[in-house]
Subunit: 109 residues, 3 copies
């Protein structure tokens, strides 16, 4: 048994939650702020059998890994008309920090 | 020294908090949502000496284990009068998920 | 790699957050209540290399250790004029509870 602590961006948390359910992985969600990945993080506590750690890691990685995304910057109404302002820009989103901890005992009551 | 992470239903959290105090067990309470036990969970972080792990486990089990409870379903005002609607039904409440983690160092500053 | 779980008073949390940044230590902040240090706690999750555990511990200790502080009690407007009521009194503030946990795996995605 291992305890996985996964810290992801808020924007990836719902997707990850659903993916855990889909893979029959039981996770508990904590609200967090700041730190590893700027503000707006969610921490998941995930208990898995040793042989399912790699599977859980894939699920976390798939849902929350760092990737580039095109985003249209918000229009600045005070600015002079600027033809470049409506172009989408590439930004980095996502990212996860994950700890796998040894577990001495695990109980369901 | 061990770190116990106990995830219980919100409805059992106050009782468990009081029981910890009664047993002189120091616990920190985190708000959590969803996962192991549906939405509305509370996570406790509990630091205990090795020889008190079993005692702490009993306290957690007593306060939050799964049990049947009779509950009167809310009356549905839109429904036709139905003589069964006011009978109490048996529902499952409670339940705890508990991890006991090894600790390398423990400090009070 | 170690995972440090540090529980400090809310009033020390911002200072500790800044000190972590200053020392290039990445921490995630969880909101917590009650327990180890009365109500109003903040829990930090900190991932550090083994050789930086002592450094992180110093940072936590410096920002949040128990200390005496002089505080002027709030003026009681309903009370009779009392010359002692405006004298500052010494109160104990701060305090941290810290766990250092072994880590099997650590990943950034
Ligand atoms: Ni991808
Ligand atoms: Ni019982
Ligand atoms: Ni000092």
């Amino acid at each position: 048994m291992k305890l996985i602590i996964a810290i992801v961006q808020d924007k990836d948390a719902n997707r990850l939650s659903n993916d855990f359910i889909e893979h029959n992985i039981r996770a508990t969600r904590l609200s967090t702020t700041g730190g590893f990945l700027k503000s707006g993080n969610t921490t998941f506590l995930v208990g898995v059998e040793d042989e399912r750690v790699d599977d859980a890691m894939e699920v976390i990685k798939d849902a929350s890994h760092t990737r580039q995304q095109f985003m249209t910057p918000p229009v600045n109404l005070d600015a002079q008309l600027d033809s470049t302002s409506s172009y989408p820009v590439e930004v980095q989103v996502g990212g996860a920090t994950v700890f796998v901890l040894p577990v001495d005992q695990f109980h369901h009551f």
